[in-house]
């Protein structure tokens, strides 16, 4: 009994203390992975805030963006041009989704819109496969997948670039939402559709804007992830990792999505490296979900979510 406690409670911390540089590497790896979770979660939050739609297709949008980019690169487009075309495709997709899916379903129950995004999910998956084929593709955006030493720690250059880019995007979005005309319009629509209409905010435009932004965020997430582990259909499953992030951070909070992603990224890496050997590994696969479950029991609205108090 004492022995077990020794292994679970004392041992890992002794390991951490004995090699702080390695611990630093683990934390940095976690932060960088977490940034990517944050990006995917952010796509969900943007759409949920502005339209109350839980977009089941966000993961496939990430895949679709990455597939399109790789497909264009394979056809010989330069990297910059491929990015521009992919961005145009994602924005065009936002227009089509607003026109074909959202507009006819306006004022319907949330569950109906949710089902529509499930349909969208399967459509995009099939459409992407039809356009670009189903085999695993290598994505090379010109950032070498090498490591270098920094303050005694190994840092992967690709992961670092990914993390920095994600951080910049997150910062831009935060300012955009809080300080600008369109950001305020987005929050206004999320808060009260009728009032937003009455002061001249066109809902259609706002929906196109959020779906476009979610599409652009999906490109970044897709590229980062694809560069690391190849573009393949399992990429759409990273959306599943975004769910615990959302539960942790709150469905309506940009800050929550970011922090939630980081907590889960760092938490699962530390868990895997230091506690993994005790249970035979694979902690990384379930850590996020167990943490989310614990949050649901203790703080169901998430870290930054709005607590709903019904007056009786």
């Amino acid at each position: 009994m004492i022995d077990v406690l020794q292994h679970v409670v004392v041992g890992p911390f002794r390991d951490i203390g004995s090699n702080p540089a390695f611990f630093g590497e683990v934390v940095i790896g976690g932060i960088l992975a977490g940034m990517l979770y944050s990006l995917v979660a952010l796509g969900f939050v943007l759409i949920f805030k502005a339209s109350g739609v839980f977009n089941f297709a966000q993961g496939v949008m990430v895949l679709f963006a990455a597939l399109t980019l790789v497909g264009l690169l394979e056809r010989g487009l330069p990297v910059a041009a491929a990015f521009v075309v992919t961005a145009a495709v994602m924005i065009a997709l936002a227009f089509v989704i607003e026109r074909v899916v959202l507009r006819p379903l306006v004022n319907q129950e949330h569950i109906i819109l949710f089902m529509a995004t499930i349909g969208l999910n399967f459509f995009l998956e099939g459409f992407g496969e039809m356009l670009w084929g189903a085999n695993v593709k290598k994505l090379d955006v010109g950032i070498p997948d090498r490591s270098f030493m920094m303050a005694g720690m190994q840092v992967n250059q690709l992961e670092l670039s990914a993390g920095v880019i994600a951080a910049v995007i997150v910062a831009i979005l935060a300012v955009f939402f809080q300080k600008t005309r369109i950001g305020r319009a987005l929050r206004a629509v999320a808060d009260d559709h009728e009032a937003a209409l009455s002061i001249g905010i066109p809902l259609k435009t706002i929906w196109v804007v959020v779906w476009s932004v979610a599409g652009l965020v999906a490109i970044v997430a897709g590229v980062m992830w694809g560069a690391k582990s190849g573009v393949q259909f399992s990429l759409s499953l990273i959306a599943l990792k975004a769910l615990p992030v959302l539960i942790l951070g709150g469905f309506e909070s940009v800050a929550g999505a970011i922090l939630g992603g980081l907590i889960i990224g760092v938490g699962e890496k530390i868990g895997e490296v230091y506690w993994g050997p005790l249970v035979g590994g694979a902690i990384e696969n379930w850590f996020a979900y167990v943490l989310a479950l614990a949050f649901l029991l203790v703080r169901p609205q998430g870290l930054f979510g709005e607590k709903i108090i019904e007056r009786v």
């Binding site: 300012v175 955009f176 369109i182 929050r187 009260d192 937003a196 009455s198 001249g200 804007v209």
Partner: protein, 262 residues
């Protein structure tokens, strides 16, 4: 009483009918709103007052009849287009952006006055920032005008009801509307709050020359502040005139007191 009544017609509602299934919410209602006046719409519950406001602001479209604003037909416009024309409104059950601060609520009301490129806005650069500051200055004037300086940073959803109504008025004013539609601006207020609100409505009308159409139940208020009163009952207009005319109009007395004439 406001001074500016009697000028040209700003808004013309021409024999408008609105049907919801078998129910005629409005049947053949015609109302002229003159530039610069304060027009009150009164009537018993279910008379079609809010429906009329919703038709004017584009939330409903008339099944028959037409609406003209500044001489142009705009019967089938959608709410955002109506807002663009310079018509602002408030709602019966306060429709504020509850999660946003009072200041952000009012700034949002100023949206149509702010133009800019999406990219610059997204990065909060150059013109986007100076425009933000200029509009902020205007919004501060409205805040001073409505005496809500003390609550400008508070989340709108946490304010007491009377103040929420005031913030909603501020948001509508931020658009510098030509026509302001107020749906029961004083509902649920105590006497003091009502007096404040009356003063603000008269000041808005007097200082900015804004034309105001308001729905109100409190007869004392209606008689005090309006230039003209339109009375609706069962979706029909039964009277239209000065407060004094309307007060003594037999059809109005019937509608309110339930007397029937054979």
């Amino acid at each position: 009483m406001s001074a500016a009544a009697g000028a040209g017609v700003l808004l013309q509602v021409e024999s408008v009918s609105v049907r919801f299934g078998a129910l005629m919410a409005l049947s053949g209602v015609s109302v002229d709103v003159r530039a610069g006046e304060i027009l009150a719409i009164i009537g018993p519950n279910g008379a079609g007052k809010t429906t009329l406001l919703n038709v004017i602001s584009g939330f409903y479209h008339p099944s028959q009849g037409r609406i003209f604003f500044e001489g142009r037909d705009r019967t089938r416009l959608r709410p955002p287009d109506v807002a663009e024309l310079g018509i602002a409104r408030t709602f019966q059950n306060v429709a504020l952006f509850k999660g946003m601060s009072v200041l952000d609520n009012i700034m949002t009301g100023r949206l149509l006055k702010m133009k800019g490129s999406f990219l610059l806005d997204a990065l909060y650069l150059g013109p986007a920032m100076s425009q933000e500051l200029a509009n902020r200055a205007f919004v501060e004037r409205i805040i001073d005008f409505l005496e809500i300086q003390a609550i400008r940073k508070a989340p709108a959803g946490r304010l007491p009801y009377g103040l929420q109504k005031r913030v909603e008025l501020a948001r509508a004013l931020a658009a510098e509307p030509k026509l302001l539609l107020l749906d029961e601006p004083m509902a649920g207020m105590n006497v003091e709050e009502k007096e404040d609100m009356c003063r603000f409505i008269l000041d808005v009308n007097g200082e900015f020359g804004t034309t105001i159409v308001l729905i109100e139940h409190d007869m004392g208020v209606v008689m005090d502040i309006s230039d003209r009163v339109v009375v609706l009952d069962y979706g029909r207009k039964i009277a239209d005139g000065t407060p004094d005319d309307v007060r003594t109009h037999p059809a109005v007395l019937d509608a309110y007191l339930g007397v029937t004439h054979d």
